[in-house]
């Protein structure tokens, strides 16, 4: 048996571990509303995340109108502006990006890609969505309470977050914190599903190292989320107590309006440590799924295996581990013990190494590939450029001494938008264009897609690349208006105008994208099954879109890794993961069935 010949292919039971308990919904409500099917839940998460994300987008337009044309838009007050800043940030990072990558893509793709019928705890999965929706509703409600939404910045630093002088310190901050608590509870429920499903419910033959990198990315990000969100939970609850009960976890002695407040001996720095202990892993919770998705889309559309799969897995895992020991690079000017700076600068620059390796490997996947410049591929190439740029500016900020002049300037804003705002969103677009045919059986309209791509890519780069230089000039962030200074040239105001106009143009392109989705669901060109000729299991379902139970009567059996593209000796330029070896058509053969994978598929290096 040592030559790898597989016997008795007909009688291999599909799964050795118990099949997932599939719930069969009977009524309309249990099928489409309170659904326990991960695919429906995924669409619920995605729709809610995109809708609240559009609110976040509009908030960003309001902010840019104020920054670009401060004299024209006098209806925007400083209070309004700081509320926009805060809600835009919190919505985008947590309620859009985290929810969409984990709740949206995770729910749809994980069961399909691992070869399971559904998640392992479907009832809990359903509850998790409704808790998330509740969190979104509570957050939105904060706009309508007395005092309005919180204006403390998405980082919610005390003491200002809960004191007069900051908008929303009366009610807005309470609703914000309560919303976050619910979000975290909901995400723990979902996260348990994603992790345990990947560990336990993989189809026969699907070893960990045969998983597509999309699954590795989402799986690792979920573990990060489960371990990092508790820090935000603890910080949020403590701040809630400081606000509601008058405790002093974070509140030192403070004088406001000439009066000493009742607080004593709290530490504002304690909140910052808790917040960033969560906050840094959070950016990898967003980035790691994006990394995984990019790897899979590039390899499918370039018809080439992802270069260095093992290194890619190790990089994902080591980035995740290292992400827990870099948090205080957000606190270099916080007044913490300055000697910490040496440690955190070192760990931060070390984490650049596995991240850079991933980037090299994406480019090396393109090298000697056979590249279709399809819209998903275009977005992935754009991602590589934007993420490289954003990652590099991270090296500036991570190096503690260099961070000192740049912190709290527009350089930081430009950096995190490149690396969190543009890069992962480009991946979201790539993913939607790529998997839309799976979910609907139709393509998104190509012409509109190209319009969307070019405007978004070029527009975003033109918005954020010059912004770094405003940071060098010394323009601070979170400023309602720059006003009179002795050192900022008038051309900076012109640049601000330019950036605002680009923001509005790019924003318009997103409206076109949404319309494309809505119309193509009904009128898009039919795609047929597996239009991209991909190897991964989600494309090998019986029906497109996949039906309830995903794979029909029999679960798939997996025979090889996820990247059997352009294998020498095989006629087709791809071999699906679950194709039995004796069904692989060899090139130049007389159609003889051979019972083993072509040796080149398994060539040692």
């Amino acid at each position: 048996m040592s030559n790898g010949v597989l016997d008795e292919t007909q009688v291999i039971p599909p799964a050795e571990v118990e099949e997932v308990d599939l719930y069969h919904a009977k009524s309309f409500i249990t099928k489409w509303v309170f659904s326990q099917d991960a695919k429906i839940i995924a669409i619920q998460y995605s729709t809610t995340a995109i809708l609240i994300g559009l609110v976040g987008l509009v908030l960003s337009w309001m902010m840019r109108l104020q920054l670009g044309f401060p004299d024209t838009f006098s209806f925007i007050s400083p209070e309004d502006y700081y509320q926009f800043v805060t809600m835009h940030g919190m919505i985008m990072v947590i309620y859009l990006l985290t929810a969409l990558f984990l709740g949206g893509f995770g729910n749809y793709l994980i069961p399909l890609m691992v070869g399971a019928r559904d998640m392992v705890f479907p009832y809990l999965n359903m509850i998790s969505y409704w808790v998330y929706l509740l969190a979104v509703i509570i957050l939105t409600a904060s706009f309508f309470v007395p005092g309005g939404a919180s204006g403390a910045g998405w980082t919610l630093y005390p003491p200002q977050a809960i004191l007069e002088g900051t908008p929303g310190s009366q009610w807005g901050i309470i609703l914000m914190l309560v919303s976050l608590v619910f979000f975290i509870i909901g995400f723990t429920m979902g996260g348990l599903n994603y992790v345990v499903t990947v560990l336990q419910a993989r189809a026969r033959g699907m070893t960990l190292m045969r998983l597509p990198l999309t699954v590795w990315g989402i799986f690792t990000a979920t573990i990060l989320a489960l371990l990092a969100f508790p820090a935000l939970f603890v910080g949020g609850v403590m701040m809630l107590l400081d606000r509601v009960l008058g405790t002093s976890f974070f509140m030192p002695e403070i004088i406001q309006a000439g009066e000493l407040l009742g607080h004593d001996s709290g530490s504002p720095l304690l909140f910052q440590h808790l917040f960033w202990f969560f906050g840094h892993p959070e950016v990898y919770i967003v980035a790691l799924p994006a990394f995984g998705v990019v790897s899979d889309i590039i390899s499918t559309h370039a018809r080439k295996n992802i270069f260095g799969y093992r290194m890619m897995v190790w990089a994902i895992v080591s980035i995740a581990g290292l992400s827990f020991v870099v948090w205080a690079h957000h606190m270099y000017v916080s007044g913490m013990n300055p000697y910490f700076g040496f440690f955190f600068a070192t760990t931060t620059l070390i984490i650049a190494v596995p991240t850079a390796l991933k980037l090299y490997n994406w480019v090396l996947t393109l090298w000697k590939g056979n590249i279709h410049l399809s819209i998903p591929m275009l977005f992935c190439i754009a991602f590589i450029l934007v993420f490289l740029n954003g990652g590099i500016t991270g090296l500036f900020l991570g190096n503690v001494a260099v961070d000192i002049p740049l912190s709290d300037t527009m350089f930081v804003v430009a950096h995190f938008h490149m690396v969190m705002g543009i890069a992962p969103v480009l991946v979201i677009f790539a993913a939607i264009y790529h998997w839309f045919p799976l979910m609907t059986g139709r393509f998104l309209h190509e012409g509109w897609g190209l319009f969307h791509f070019w405007i978004t890519f070029l527009g975003s780069y033109l918005i954020y690349f010059p912004m770094h230089y405003l940071g060098f000039v010394g323009v601070p962030r979170r400023y309602y208006e720059i006003g009179e200074t002795s050192f900022i040239p008038p051309s900076a105001a012109t640049l601000n105008e330019f950036i605002t106009i680009m923001v509005l143009i790019v924003g318009f392109a997103q409206v076109v994208f949404i319309l494309n989705i809505l119309i193509s669901i009904f009128k898009g060109k039919p795609s047929g099954e597996n239009p991209w000729d991909a190897t991964t299991l989600e494309w090998q379902t019986e029906t497109t879109p996949p039906g309830h139970g995903n794979f029909g009567d029999e679960l798939p059996v997996v025979y090889r890794w996820a990247y059997a593209y352009s294998v020498p000796g095989v006629e087709a330029d791809f071999v699906p993961q679950n194709l039995p070896p004796d069904q692989i058509k060899r090139s130049g053969s007389s159609g003889e069935a051979v019972a083993e994978d072509p040796p080149e598929l398994h060539k040692p290096e």
Binding site: V17, Q200, L241
Partner: protein, 205 residues
């Protein structure tokens, strides 16, 4: 460790041993519920660890006046220990196919836990009456926070307990109940351990 061996394999190479033996590809033979609970307990551990680190930090650096220790806390501790014992009894009975034991163990476990929570609320009441408000100083604030977190986690456990009781009431057999009883028992022991640590720290500070 198994996981290191797993992720250093080269998946594009044929692994005859792998395909031949039709391994369970590394999935654990534990039921999914047990794996899920273990992951969840990691999350709970992080919450309490971070809160305790914050507690230690403030204990050393802030103005600290320790709280009094009402003797009721000792009673509550005994109640919680007893509830763990009862849950273990239910779990052992499930292993021996003894439905009566399962029923009694679950019942006592739940009742004793409710008694514990009532006792905790009574302690809060007493302290507030004596003027030890949460806002007074940091030690008080941490006491209320830690006991609240612990109590809320127990309450969550009682929801799972409630579902098991319902299943029992509807004529569930030992086989139906075994997994959920074992999971509840593990969770109860874990929260007892957390309580003993919290209580110990409270006595020490």
């Amino acid at each position: 460790m198994g996981i290191f061996h797993e992720i250093t394999k080269k998946p594009w190479l044929a692994d005859p041993a792998e395909d031949e033996g039709y391994h369970n590809q590394g999935a654990s033979f534990l039921p999914n519920g047990k794996v899920g609970l273990r992951v969840f307990l990691c999350v709970v551990t992080v919450i309490f660890t971070l809160t305790l680190i914050a507690y230690a930090d403030r204990m050393f650096f802030a103005t600290w006046s320790p709280m009094p220790e009402p003797w009721i806390l000792w009673v509550n501790t005994a109640l919680l220990i007893a509830s763990s014992v009862a849950m273990q009894w239910a779990s052992n009975s499930a292993g021996r196919d003894n439905l009566g034991g399962v029923r009694d163990g679950l019942l006592f476990g739940g009742v004793l836990t409710f008694a514990f929570l009532t006792g905790q609320l009574y302690v809060w009441q007493q302290l507030v009456d004596l003027g030890y408000y949460a806002s007074l100083n940091t030690a008080n604030a941490f006491f209320y926070l830690l006991t609240a977190l612990h109590g809320l986690h127990l309450l969550g456990g009682l929801i799972a307990w409630g579902r098991s009781m319902l299943r029992l009431r509807r004529g569930g057999s030992v086989a139906d109940l075994r997994l959920s009883v074992e999971l509840c028992t593990t969770y109860w022991h874990y929260l007892l351990l957390i309580w003993l640590i919290l209580f110990g720290l409270l006595l020490m500070s």
